[in-house]
Amino acid sequence: DAGITQSPRHKVTETGTPVTLRCHQTENHRYMYWYRQDPGHGLRLIHYSYGVKDTDKGEVSDGYSVSRSKTEDFLLTLESATSSQTSVYFCAISESVRRGGTDTQYFGPGTRLTVL
């Protein structure tokens, strides 16, 4: 497995509370991504980063914010958690934009978040 860790691995929280998930990589890859995985929806991109302090929205970004102050860390914050944000969250990293290269995405182990 590529050097990607996520913390916490499991979290239960209440509606309206803020939650921050952390993704940490040791591969020095440029790109980092946050996805959520839900039955019937597959993986959907929340936000991604293409460098330190460079981030952009994905297809399901409402209710989420991100920050990347260092190459190795990408934080996902739910400012005020809702039950619809109960999901499994995956972080991923990627290096190259060069088409046809051998690079792809490498995934973290996931964080299971339950919002009551």
Partner: protein, 108 residues
């Protein structure tokens, strides 16, 4: 807009039977397609990519631009192939779009 469609949520086959997991895509640019697999209690991992034209664990996938498809095939399914399979499209800008996944069960 880019989109990846996997029409089958669940697929069951008997051990030794051929298996095909369907994937169709929609993208105005030149597509770069991948298959990822997630075994029980493991993280997603790359299975194969169309650029490499490789065979991994007996699986192959051919990009058909005319039909905008990238179906995953294996001639003889094994029990260890039981997993969740995702088709993914990489677009310009290094964004990845995933299908909804197909859960494959190989019956002994």
């Amino acid at each position: 807009a880019q989109r990846v469609t996997q029409p089958e949520k669940l697929l069951s086959v008997f051990k030794g039977a051929p298996v095909e997991l369907k994937c169709n895509y929609s993208y105005s640019g030149s597509p770069e397609l991948f298959w990822y697999v997630q075994y029980s209690r493991q993280r997603l991992q790359l299975l194969l990519r169309h650029i490499s034209r490789e065979s991994i664990k007996g699986f192959t996938a051919d990009l058909n631009k005319g039909e905008t498809s990238f179906h995953l095939k294996k001639p003889f399914a094994q029990e260890e192939d039981s997993a969740m399979y995702y088709c993914a499209l990489r677009t310009f800008g290094n964004q990845f779009y995933f299908g909804t996944g197909t859960s494959l069960t190989v019956i002994p």
